[in-house]
């Protein structure tokens, strides 16, 4: 449907698509969701994101927006009710800082846990633990990154709650330590219980299997 229609191109296991789904839900925006087959990307996706050809892509008023954090900023600017970013510019900067920290530091380490073996795996797990500890400092003693309620940074970071638990179970390694990171552990519990945040999280067992399969495929090359 042309004109006002909002459409989201996503993938069930993508944490970046999850961000956008949660944001749209928090704002009560109606949209059409299209699940992409990543092995056979749709023309809409290829045209919508010609540079990266990746999900998520938001289509609105015939235009396409790519990159999950860019999409979140767009959503917050077009639909101003239930703001994701705080009002104060300094607090906005803090939200953006922590969202970027997760992408720059936590993502590569958590991906490393899936893709590496042996000593390299140990190194990735160690880095992941360090970065998660640093992430905890972003909470600044509060219940969530947005303060008392879920905001931009929480939406950007929430998937970590799920993925960390999933990787711990799938690969029998420790990433979050209740004793060492009590505030972050509490935030994880809080986020995983939130009805909006948990609505779009992928089915747990399906994600564990998917990640284990991915790891087998990627590390088979290394082992041989």
């Amino acid at each position: 449907m042309a004109g006002e229609g909002v459409k989201l191109l996503g993938y069930w296991a993508s944490p970046f698509a999850l961000r956008v789904r949660s944001a749209l839900k928090l704002k009560g925006i109606e949209y059409e969701y299209q699940e992409e087959d990543l092995g056979n990307k749709s023309p809409l996706l290829l045209q919508g994101n010609p540079v990266y050809k990746k999900v998520p892509v938001l289509l609105h008023n015939g235009k396409s927006i790519s990159e999950s954090l860019v999409i979140l900023e767009y959503i917050d600017e077009v639909w101003k009710h239930n703001p994701l970013l705080p009002e104060d510019p300094y607090e906005r900067a803090r939200s953006r800082f922590w969202a970027k920290f997760v992408d720059e530091k936590c993502v590569p380490a958590l991906v490393g846990v899936i893709t590496k073996v042996g000593e390299e795996l140990e190194k990735s797990a160690r880095e992941a633990r360090e970065h998660l500890k640093t992430l905890e400092s972003g909470l600044d003693g509060k219940r969530c990154f947005g303060g008392t309620k879920i905001g931009f940074a929480d939406v950007a970071i929430a998937w970590i709650a799920y993925w960390v638990r999933m990787e711990q179970e799938a690969f029998k390694i420790q990433l979050i330590d209740q004793q060492n990171m009590p505030l972050l552990a509490a935030w994880i519990d809080y986020v995983l219980e939130d009805p909006v945040m948990k609505e779009f999280m992928p089915p747990y067992d399906k994600l564990v299997k998917h990640t284990r399969d991915l790891r087998e495929k990627l590390t088979a090359v290394v082992s041989n």
Partner: protein, 219 residues
């Protein structure tokens, strides 16, 4: 005189220049503190405990780190002489390219700089691919990434000016040639001629000397 806005920086860092240009384009007065990078100041470590890097902007005593975050902050606190478009879609396009430059271009430039004799040709080709995408899809037929005048996207793509030029000299391979990338090459010259930018560029000889030294003594 103690100003309300302070910037901790380092003379050769492109990320610091992004902030300097934004502040100057908006006519914001600030105190500049040059950090001695191997010996970072106590203040810097306190203001940016996560990354321990420059630039750090301090406004009314509150520190902001990470240059793209700093630029968005400056834009919000001092909205005159805007550096981002007004329209949300246009802003999303600007932010997309800002991410592209800070993420992909930056890492390609670092690879291009650090690769040894064996890898440098491939690193140069990868750099060229990104330059091509930037020229065709981000710049297009416009004079500047921002249209008729420079905006935040132009500031970020300044990686394609002094920093790529220095790297080309130090590594010994040219990538941004007028024959291969005519519009981007023209943009480089137009950007460097812009008022404020022109008066605030690092000295090219000093850059080549500095980066040559770093490349042979990484520590």
């Amino acid at each position: 005189m103690d100003k309300e806005v302070k910037l901790h920086g380092f003379w050769s860092s492109p990320y610091v220049y992004w902030v300097i240009w934004a502040l100057k384009l908006k006519g914001i007065e600030y105190d500049y503190i040059e950090e001695d990078l191997p010996n970072k100041s106590e203040l810097l470590l306190r203001y940016n405990p996560v990354y321990k890097k420059v630039p750090v902007l301090v406004h009314a005593g509150k520190p902001i780190s990470e240059s793209p975050v700093i630029l968005e902050y400056i834009e919000e606190v001092w909205p005159h002489n805007p550096l981002l478009p007004k329209d949300p879609y246009e802003r999303s396009v600007a932010r997309f390219w800002i991410n592209f430059a800070t993420d992909k271009v930056r890492s390609a430039l670092l690879s291009f700089f650090w690769e040894g004799e064996d890898g440098k040709k491939e690193a140069a080709e990868q750099m060229f691919d990104l330059l091509k995408i930037s020229e065709e899809q981000a710049l297009g037929d416009k004079k500047f990434f921002g249209g008729n005048s420079i905006n935040m996207v132009d500031l970020i793509f300044a990686l394609f000016t002094c920093w790529i030029q220095t790297t080309e000299q130090v590594v010994g391979i040219k990538v941004l040639e007028p024959s291969r990338l005519p519009r981007l090459h023209a943009w480089v010259n137009n950007f460097k001629e812009e008022p404020i930018i022109k008066e605030n560029l690092p000295d090219s000889e000093r850059m080549v000397e500095h980066y040559t030294r770093i490349r042979s003594n990484p520590n």
